[in-house]
């Protein structure tokens, strides 16, 4: 079975490519056949993160039909078991890919045979990013402990949420819903997903319930990257709690990844951080992150080691 993990975060520079690259290296080194797919159309640089400067092929070749299957665009890296589908040669139009092309990529991804496929998504909340995020029922949101990043991750979470409602209601019903929302109009609230859900429940309780359940079945996760000592240690848990409580979306906190100035060094040297500096706190955090992904079984039969619960946070005072 192939595990597909989209990784996105809304804000540029929050470390999506860094996490995808290093997680990929770690998974591959454990013997998992792993594919990294750079889905940051328009800003691809995953190849640089793992030190593959020259790519003879990439995603663009598949869309331009230069090659027949998506698998053919995958290149080997110098790490055994680790493969990359690069986005480096993406042309300008790819950032605004047509719906058909997107579907073509989705279908192709579902046919790939790897143990793990990690999707590195671009910043922003374009439909491309969101649809790639929804390719599997689990996705990983990345944020750093800064207001700008938190703001963007919330924006992305809400966009993903709205898109899920839309997927579920089908185009026609969704349009009706939006019109109704405009009619009832509550200022800026009309497009907030939580409002749309409440409205759906009002208009059609049965459907509303179904959408709610579908949303509850999703398995989103959150990682807090570039975590510094002075940051609130429970921030990630609390963010997940807010999303669960006020949006009704399950969100599991994976953990903090420590900030380290050496990350820049590794990027400049174009070697994976986890290989170059394996004994830093950041590398240890990355491995924990990897372990979490490794033990996350999709069907819920084997729950991953739980990140800190709210109760524990309260027990420890939570006043930092």
């Amino acid at each position: 079975m192939t595990h597909i993990w989209p990784i996105g975060g809304g804000k540029g520079g929050s470390g999506k490519s860094f996490l995808v690259g290093n997680l990929g290296v770690w998974l591959a080194k454990l013997g998992n056949k792993t594919l990294l797919l750079d889905a940051d159309f328009g800003g691809a640089n995953l190849h640089t993160m793992i030190g593959v400067p020259h790519q003879e092929k990439g995603l663009a070749d598949f869309l331009s039909k230069k090659v027949q299957t998506l698998d053919e665009t995958a290149i080997e890296t110098r790490i055994p078991n680790l493969f990359l589908i690069s986005g480096a040669d993406n042309n300008l139009e790819m950032a605004n890919m047509a719906y058909e092309q997107k579907m073509k990529i989705f279908r192709a991804i579902s046919k790939l045979s790897y143990d793990y496929i990690l999707l590195d998504l671009g910043a922003g909340t374009s439909f491309n990013t969101i649809d790639f995020f929804l390719i599997s029922d689990g996705g990983i949101f990345v944020t750093t402990p800064e207001p700008t990043s938190v703001e963007n991750v919330y924006r992305l979470i809400r966009s993903v949420y709205v898109r899920k409602i839309r997927q579920f209601l089908k185009a026609y019903h969704f349009r009706t819903l939006l019109e109704k929302a405009e009619e009832k109009g509550q200022g800026g609230d009309t497009h907030k997903p939580e409002y749309l859900i409440t409205l759906t429940k009002e208009l059609d309780p049965e459907k509303g319930k179904m959408v709610e359940e579908a949303l509850r079945a999703s398995q989103f996760k959150l990682v807090l990257n570039q975590f510094r000592k002075q940051d609130h240690p429970k921030m990630g848990v609390l963010i997940c709690r807010i999303v669960e409580k006020h949006l009704g979306l399950p969100m599991q906190f994976i953990g903090n990844i420590a900030h380290d100035d050496l990350v820049r060094d590794a990027v400049v040297q174009r070697v994976p951080f986890i290989e170059r500096y394996p004994h830093t706190q950041t590398a240890i955090d990355l491995k924990k992150f990897g372990q979490h992904i490794l033990y996350s079984r999709r069907n819920g039969e084997d729950p991953p080691p739980a990140a800190q619960s709210v109760e524990e946070v309260q027990a420890s005072g939570g006043e930092e």
Partner: protein
Amino acid sequence: MRPLAELTYYELLDLSPGATPFEIRQAYKMATGVYGEESIVIYSFFSEEERKEILTRIDEAFATLINEKARSAYDQLLIQKGIMKEGSQYGSPRERLAVGGPNRPGAEKNGPAENPVIREILCQEVLTGKDLKRLRSELEVSLEQIAEWTKIRPGLLQCIEEDQFNQLPSRLHLRSFLKAYVQYFHLNPDPLVDRYMKRVPD
């Protein structure tokens, strides 16, 4: 999405129905931080209006849950609505069994500070053994109950209440015994202990 009004006070504060007053205070403190103006955790998530509305409701939740009478009325309401199970509320026989701990009395009264006699005692600069005894009887607690919970033998507790200083252990030990005694009433121990210790000869 659950609209704010649909969240119970317990859900709002992330508490279980059997939460102790101590846990309620902790949760309240945490919630006011999370939804506070400076909080990064909710940055951009709510409009200013929504945030204030939530804070108001958090205050409401705290005021209700920390007051035993108001809380039990609220619990009854939730039980009637079928949101909460009978027997899961704080202080109910089953809950007490599950927790295994004593149901300490300070919380059962409408908060010790609301009783005029207790309030007067708490305002004193110096506390005598007699004051402690008055405090205890005002809260309708027997010496044995405290002894059982604190694991301090009743005889010693009696000496504390009777100011028999020559019978009492060293200052250090006495302090910790006093602390346990006062904590049984859910009172902030340190200032009260200090006020008692003022009279204890070195």
